[in-house]
């Protein structure tokens, strides 16, 4: 009774009697970790003064260095969860308790004013929804930077969004009654909070038939790396006598190309020490099996899509669920045909089916889906024909509108703010009409696949997808291998890489076809394309500019640009830059559309990201990029030789007292190679000329990350 009256008078500071129980953690929904099972570091005192709280008591600390509590939680399934923190408010509390949330995208810091009453339920303050990977994660309540008042730690709760909604509903309906049932005195056999009820879902919509691969009409031939080299010798020349790159350059380039960052010093030395004759083959296998292979190339494909997807008016498009899903497909060895089929035919809510991201983010717009689907998956551009017959190739306006008719019944509902809540569904009726024409346009793909009017949305999209990914499609396999070849060899067979039709600038068609056939023969095995290219002599040539601008394409592999994610991952590998995420501003009546906070990776991506379909020559170097590496505080904090800073550089200089050895190590760490003797003396002289080892090495490190080499695929 006392507990109930405390709540009903809205006063949360009624002193509790010693025997009054707290909320029983096992009776709360979701996962709850009480502070008694957490790791307390520093001086924390127990208290039962302010109610309600979880378990026997709560703890508090005045704060200072080394004062924090770690709550360990086992997350069974990767996904999005609502995180709540329990504390008891009061006027002597801190205005800024810091909660560190280890999300799948980096650690996020949330600050809570503990003088204010938690929003509830009860003593719990919702900290927000975050994505997590499966496994053990560590939530920290930190009092380290605390200046005034005490920091309270009581419990951490992890709920699925549905559990949270159900729990909150119940709390809002009758909190006194609920609280009574949650305390230990209540009947322990009755679950206090009802299981999250499933909302009445609308009638399930028809899903596309499960993907079934059809064998090619005539079998295609595989190709070996040696055969690629023979063809290259025939068409380009100079391949067999070109010098192969050494092990250091090989592992650096391969690691960059496959998993999107430079190798660490350990990886480098292991590879160099390996004496196996087939160690390059093994390295290719090891990197293809690395989960970062899928992550890296999911980033690439996500960029391919996102750079041409205009943002909707009131929703921030978040590609991370899509990237996560795509990485799984790539790592799991799913054929590119099946993955593409699933993207084009997807239906449902993006949170449940991230494959629906592509159709959903285009808001089901039939024109955009027509032009982008052919561009992204077939590298064939038809958008010019939306408004008039294509000017430069034989393509009447109808071609475009027949493709648009495949998407005429797609429906996408956009919520405010949260893009994962976009739902892709189907309209029951509707046909596409071309402006100024009376008749309905039949869904028809380049006169190759035709669908009757009146068919359902999913049936149309499944027909289109089946045609796109079929072995007989003239562009599908070529489009994919062209992009891989372009990233690995410095330019595509066709440029721009999303135009393999007549308009593109086409070279080496024989090799292009052979590689496409290989891809079809391997049942669209993604990793196999990388494998066969990476093991060719052609790939393992040294990087240098073409002799003359007029010289034969592929006579040389020039230094390429790293993509945004690759720049961040290289900064992570080189200077151990942390990925910090700012606090998410809450949505409120006043600020209805607060933008999502940017992580360090986002900032780097904003500056260095580019559309992967752009020709290399059109990828600009910008002042924003230069300023980020020159001046940005987060980057500069790592260019610090002060032993107390704990940076990579500081540690390196403590370990290596000898300048020459330190320079060599810095080159290994930052540029993933050994310095030349000239470079050693250059750096050595610089350090010596300053007469200050720390300042000298800070300059050297700064110079390295601000050099062209650091930003190059090399």
């Amino acid at each position: 009774m006392l507990v109930v009256s405390a709540l009903s008078t809205a006063s949360l500071s009624t002193p509790a009697l010693a025997q009054d129980p707290g909320i029983e953690p096992t009776r709360l929904p979701g996962i709850v970790v009480d502070e008694t099972s957490a790791k307390q570091v520093g001086t924390w005192s127990p208290s039962r003064h302010t109610r309600p709280f979880v378990g026997e008591n709560y703890i508090y600390s005045a704060g200072g260095a080394g004062q924090y509590v770690d709550f360990l939680v086992d997350i069974k399934e990767a996904g999005t969860y609502q995180i709540l923190a329990s504390y008891t408010p009061g006027p002597n509390r801190t205005e800024a308790a810091v909660y560190e949330i280890p999300t799948a995208n980096g650690v996020q810091m949330i600050t809570v004013n503990q003088q204010e009453r938690p929003k509830g339920p009860f003593c719990f303050q919702p900290l927000g929804e975050f994505a997590f990977e499966a496994g053990q994660v560590k939530f920290t309540v930190s009092a380290e930077g605390n200046k005034k008042g005490v920091v309270v730690a009581d419990a951490i709760q992890v709920l699925t969004p549905e559990e949270f909604v159900a729990y909150k509903d119940e709390f809002e309906k009758n909190s006194p009654k609920l609280l009574a049932t949650l305390t230990a005195k209540a009947d322990p056999n009755k679950p206090a909070v009802k299981e999250a009820k499933k909302k009445a879902e609308p009638a399930p919509q028809e899903a596309a038939p499960v993907f079934a691969r059809k064998a090619p009409a005539k079998p295609r031939e595989s190709i070996t790396s040696q055969q690629i080299d023979q063809l290259m010798e025939k068409h380009v020349g100079g391949i067999q006598r070109a010098r192969l790159i050494d092990d250091e350059a090989f592992i650096r380039r391969l690691t960059l190309d496959l998993i999107g960052r430079q190798p660490t010093m350990d990886e480098m030395s292991q590879f160099l020490a390996d004496t196996a004759a087939d160690k390059r083959v093994q390295a290719v296998e090891r990197l293809l099996a690395d989960k970062d292979f899928g992550v890296n190339w999911a980033n690439y494909w996500s960029d391919v899509i996102s750079y041409r997807t205009p943002g909707p008016e009131l929703t921030f498009l978040n590609y991370s669920p899509f990237k996560g899903w795509l990485a799984e497909q790539l790592n799991g060895g799913k054929g590119w045909d099946e993955t593409t089929y699933n993207i084009v035919t997807a239906i449902g809510k993006i949170a449940d089916n991230p494959a629906a991201t592509y159709v959903g983010f285009h808001q089901g717009d039939k024109s955009r889906l027509a032009s982008e689907t052919t561009r992204v998956f077939l590298s064939t551009q038809i958008q010019c024909a939306e408004c008039h017959d294509h000017k430069f190739v034989e393509m009447p306006q109808e071609t475009f509108h027949h493709v648009a008719a495949f998407f005429v019944r797609v429906n996408a509902k956009l919520p405010w703010n949260d893009s994962s809540q976009i739902v892709v569904s189907s309209k029951a009726t509707g046909e596409h009409k071309m402006e100024g024409r009376k008749e309905d346009m039949k869904p028809m793909a380049f006169s190759e696949r035709e669908v009757e009017l009146g068919r359902s949305d999913v049936a149309r999209r499944a027909e289109l997808a089946e045609w796109i990914v079929g072995a007989e499609n003239p562009w599908f396999a070529k489009a994919f291998v062209n992009r891989v070849w372009a990233r690995m060899m410095g330019r595509g067979f066709c440029e721009p890489v999303d135009e393999i039709g007549e308009l593109g600038d086409r070279v080496l068609p024989e090799i292009h076809s052979a590689l496409a056939d290989h891809f079809i023969a391997s049942e669209f095995n993604v990793k196999d394309v990388f494998r066969v290219v990476a093991l060719s002599h052609s790939y393992q040539r040294e990087i240098h500019d073409a002799e003359k601008s007029t010289s034969q394409p592929f006579a040389a592999i020039p230094a390429g640009r790293l993509r945004g994610d690759e720049v961040f991952d290289s900064l992570e590998a080189a200077i151990e830059i942390p990925n910090v995420i700012a606090e998410q501003a809450a949505t409120s009546g006043e600020f209805r559309f607060p933008p999502p906070p940017k992580s360090t990776r986002d900032l780097v991506n904003d500056a260095f990201g580019f559309d992967p379909s752009a020709e290399q020559a059109n990828v600009a170097r910008t002042m924003q990029q230069a300023m980020l590496l020159m001046n940005n505080k987060q980057v500069q904090a790592q260019v610090n030789a002060n032993p107390a800073s704990g940076t990579m550089l500081a540690k390196l200089l403590i370990e290596e007292k000898n300048d020459e050895a330190a320079i060599a190590k810095l080159y290994g760490k930052v540029l993933a190679r050994k310095p030349t003797t000239q470079e050693i003396s250059l750096a050595q002289e610089h350090v010596k000329s300053l007469g200050n080892r720390h300042a000298g090495f800070e300059d050297v490190l700064w110079g390295m990350i601000n050099s062209a080499e650091f930003l190059s695929r090399r």
């Binding site: 929703t315 430069f392 230069a626 050099s707």
Partner: protein, 439 residues
């Protein structure tokens, strides 16, 4: 063939480079050049640039301002609401009472009262009114500032050609350089008087120069190993960036240099100080400046759906001093002739208001544009609406008309074409005619 033809066309900037300028300055100043400091040279250069081309300042009223509470009140109409009309210093032009300062400088404004468009949705209207092109999902038309920046691009100038001051009230409802790419993107100042963090070197200029010299040596090594092209590109952008972050012209962003009295006159709020910053930037040679006025009422801006009667006077009050003082300040300095100042939002508000509080919805007939300077005939009102502001009854003007007029003033040919980053040809403006009354 098609491709090489295109790249040849896009490279035609036709502007004097840094060296060219210094040479011409040397000829003009003769032996006196020797005594000029670096800063003097840069300032002289900025002055030189000012002569060569007109600048544009866009005062963007984010959210769509009410015509009744700004420059087209309709006393006696059942739709007017509580705002009274006052006379301006131009006989025959009355405006809403919340603009006392602007009323005194109306001889420096040509007011268009008959803008008409089809777009009543913020997102679509913003894209239209800031680019001149109706929204098209498959092409990202650039905002006008980027188009002007491309026209005025000068690699020898330390500062960016296009600066944006203030943030759009809702981040996703924005328009950037689109198909023109990052080079012509605006340089963004969120808060007037404060440069973005990354502009400030974390070390002294000497240390930065020392480090840049070392990085250049590293790049020489990279070039020597065969990657000369990447090394040269890198050095070019670092030269440009280091010139920018160390440039004495960055002083233009520092409002502390201005007399307190003038700062007060501009209004001590984000918009007023933004206008002052815009003037400083024009003075320094920046080609296009956008000052976003989203008001101080959270992310609502001029989008007053609920409490227009109360909020529009507040918004007007936050805008009046900045607008009026900018015009007089530019005129006093003899800069108005070479600076086009445009006041506008994406549309106006419905005649009918919702309830006692005066909320109005979106309306795109009879919205307003104020134009000053750049040689236009000021102190006139062009076009008219009926007694209730329901219909445009005289001289309807379209968005392409407006953009053709911008071109006319800025000395650009509206029908000239450029190639997008996807090699599509695009005209500066499609359709429309110059508004003759302005000249």
């Amino acid at each position: 063939m098609l491709r090489s033809f295109i790249s040849a066309t896009t490279n035609g900037d036709g502007l004097t480079g840094r060296r060219g300028f210094l040479k011409s300055l040397g000829v003009a100043a003769g032996a006196g050049t020797m005594t000029l400091s670096w800063r003097d040279m840069l300032l002289a250069r900025a002055k030189e640039l000012q002569k060569s081309g007109k600048r544009m300042i866009l005062l963007w009223m984010d959210g769509g301002p009410s015509q009744y509470d700004t420059f087209n009140p309709k006393p006696g109409s059942e739709y007017q609401g509580p705002s009274q009309a006052i006379h301006t210093n131009v006989p025959g032009i009355d405006i809403a009472e919340h603009w006392p300062h602007t009323a005194k400088v109306f001889d420096k404004i040509a007011l268009i009262r008959s803008m008409v468009s089809d777009e009543k949705d913020h997102f679509r209207a913003i894209k239209l009114v800031r680019s001149g092109y109706p929204i098209k999902p498959t092409i990202a038309y650039p905002t006008w500032g980027s188009v002007v920046a491309r026209d005025r691009w000068d690699p020898g100038f330390d500062l960016p050609a296009f600066v944006r001051i203030g943030k759009p009230r809702i981040k996703t409802r924005d328009i950037n350089s689109g198909v023109l790419g990052p080079r012509y993107e605006s340089f963004k100042i969120d808060e007037p008087g404060k440069l973005p963090e990354d502009v400030h070197p974390s070390v002294s200029a000497d240390v930065l120069q020392r480090r840049l010299a070392l990085a250049a040596k590293f790049d020489e090594q990279f070039a020597a190993r065969g990657s000369r092209k990447a090394a040269i590109e890198q050095r070019e952008i670092y030269d440009r960036t280091s010139r920018f972050v160390l440039s004495p012209l960055l002083d233009a962003f520092n409002l502390d240099k201005e007399p307190e009295k003038l700062r007060d006159a501009y209004g001590r709020n984000a918009f007023g100080q933004g206008c002052l910053l815009a003037r400083r930037l024009v003075e320094t040679g920046v080609s296009f400046i956008e000052v976003i006025n989203g008001g101080t009422n959270n992310d609502q801006g001029w989008d007053t759906h609920k409490r227009g009667f109360k909020e529009n006077p507040i918004l007007a009050g936050e805008t009046d001093s900045g607008y009026a003082t900018l015009l007089t300040d530019l005129a006093d300095r003899g800069m108005l002739e070479n600076t086009l100042v445009v006041w506008m939002g994406e549309f106006c508000r419905t005649p009918k208001y919702e309830d006692e509080a005066g909320g109005r919805n979106h309306y795109s007939e009879g919205w307003l544009v104020g134009m000053s300077g750049g040689g236009v005939k000021m102190g006139q009102a062009i076009g008219a609406t009926d007694k209730d502001n329901v219909k445009v009854v005289d001289r309807p003007i379209s968005v392409p008309d407006l953009f053709c007029t911008f071109c006319q003033i800025l000395g650009m040919d509206p029908r000239s074409e450029y190639f997008t980053d996807q090699d599509q040809p695009l005209k500066l403006v499609e359709g429309g005619e110059v508004i003759k009354e302005l000249f």
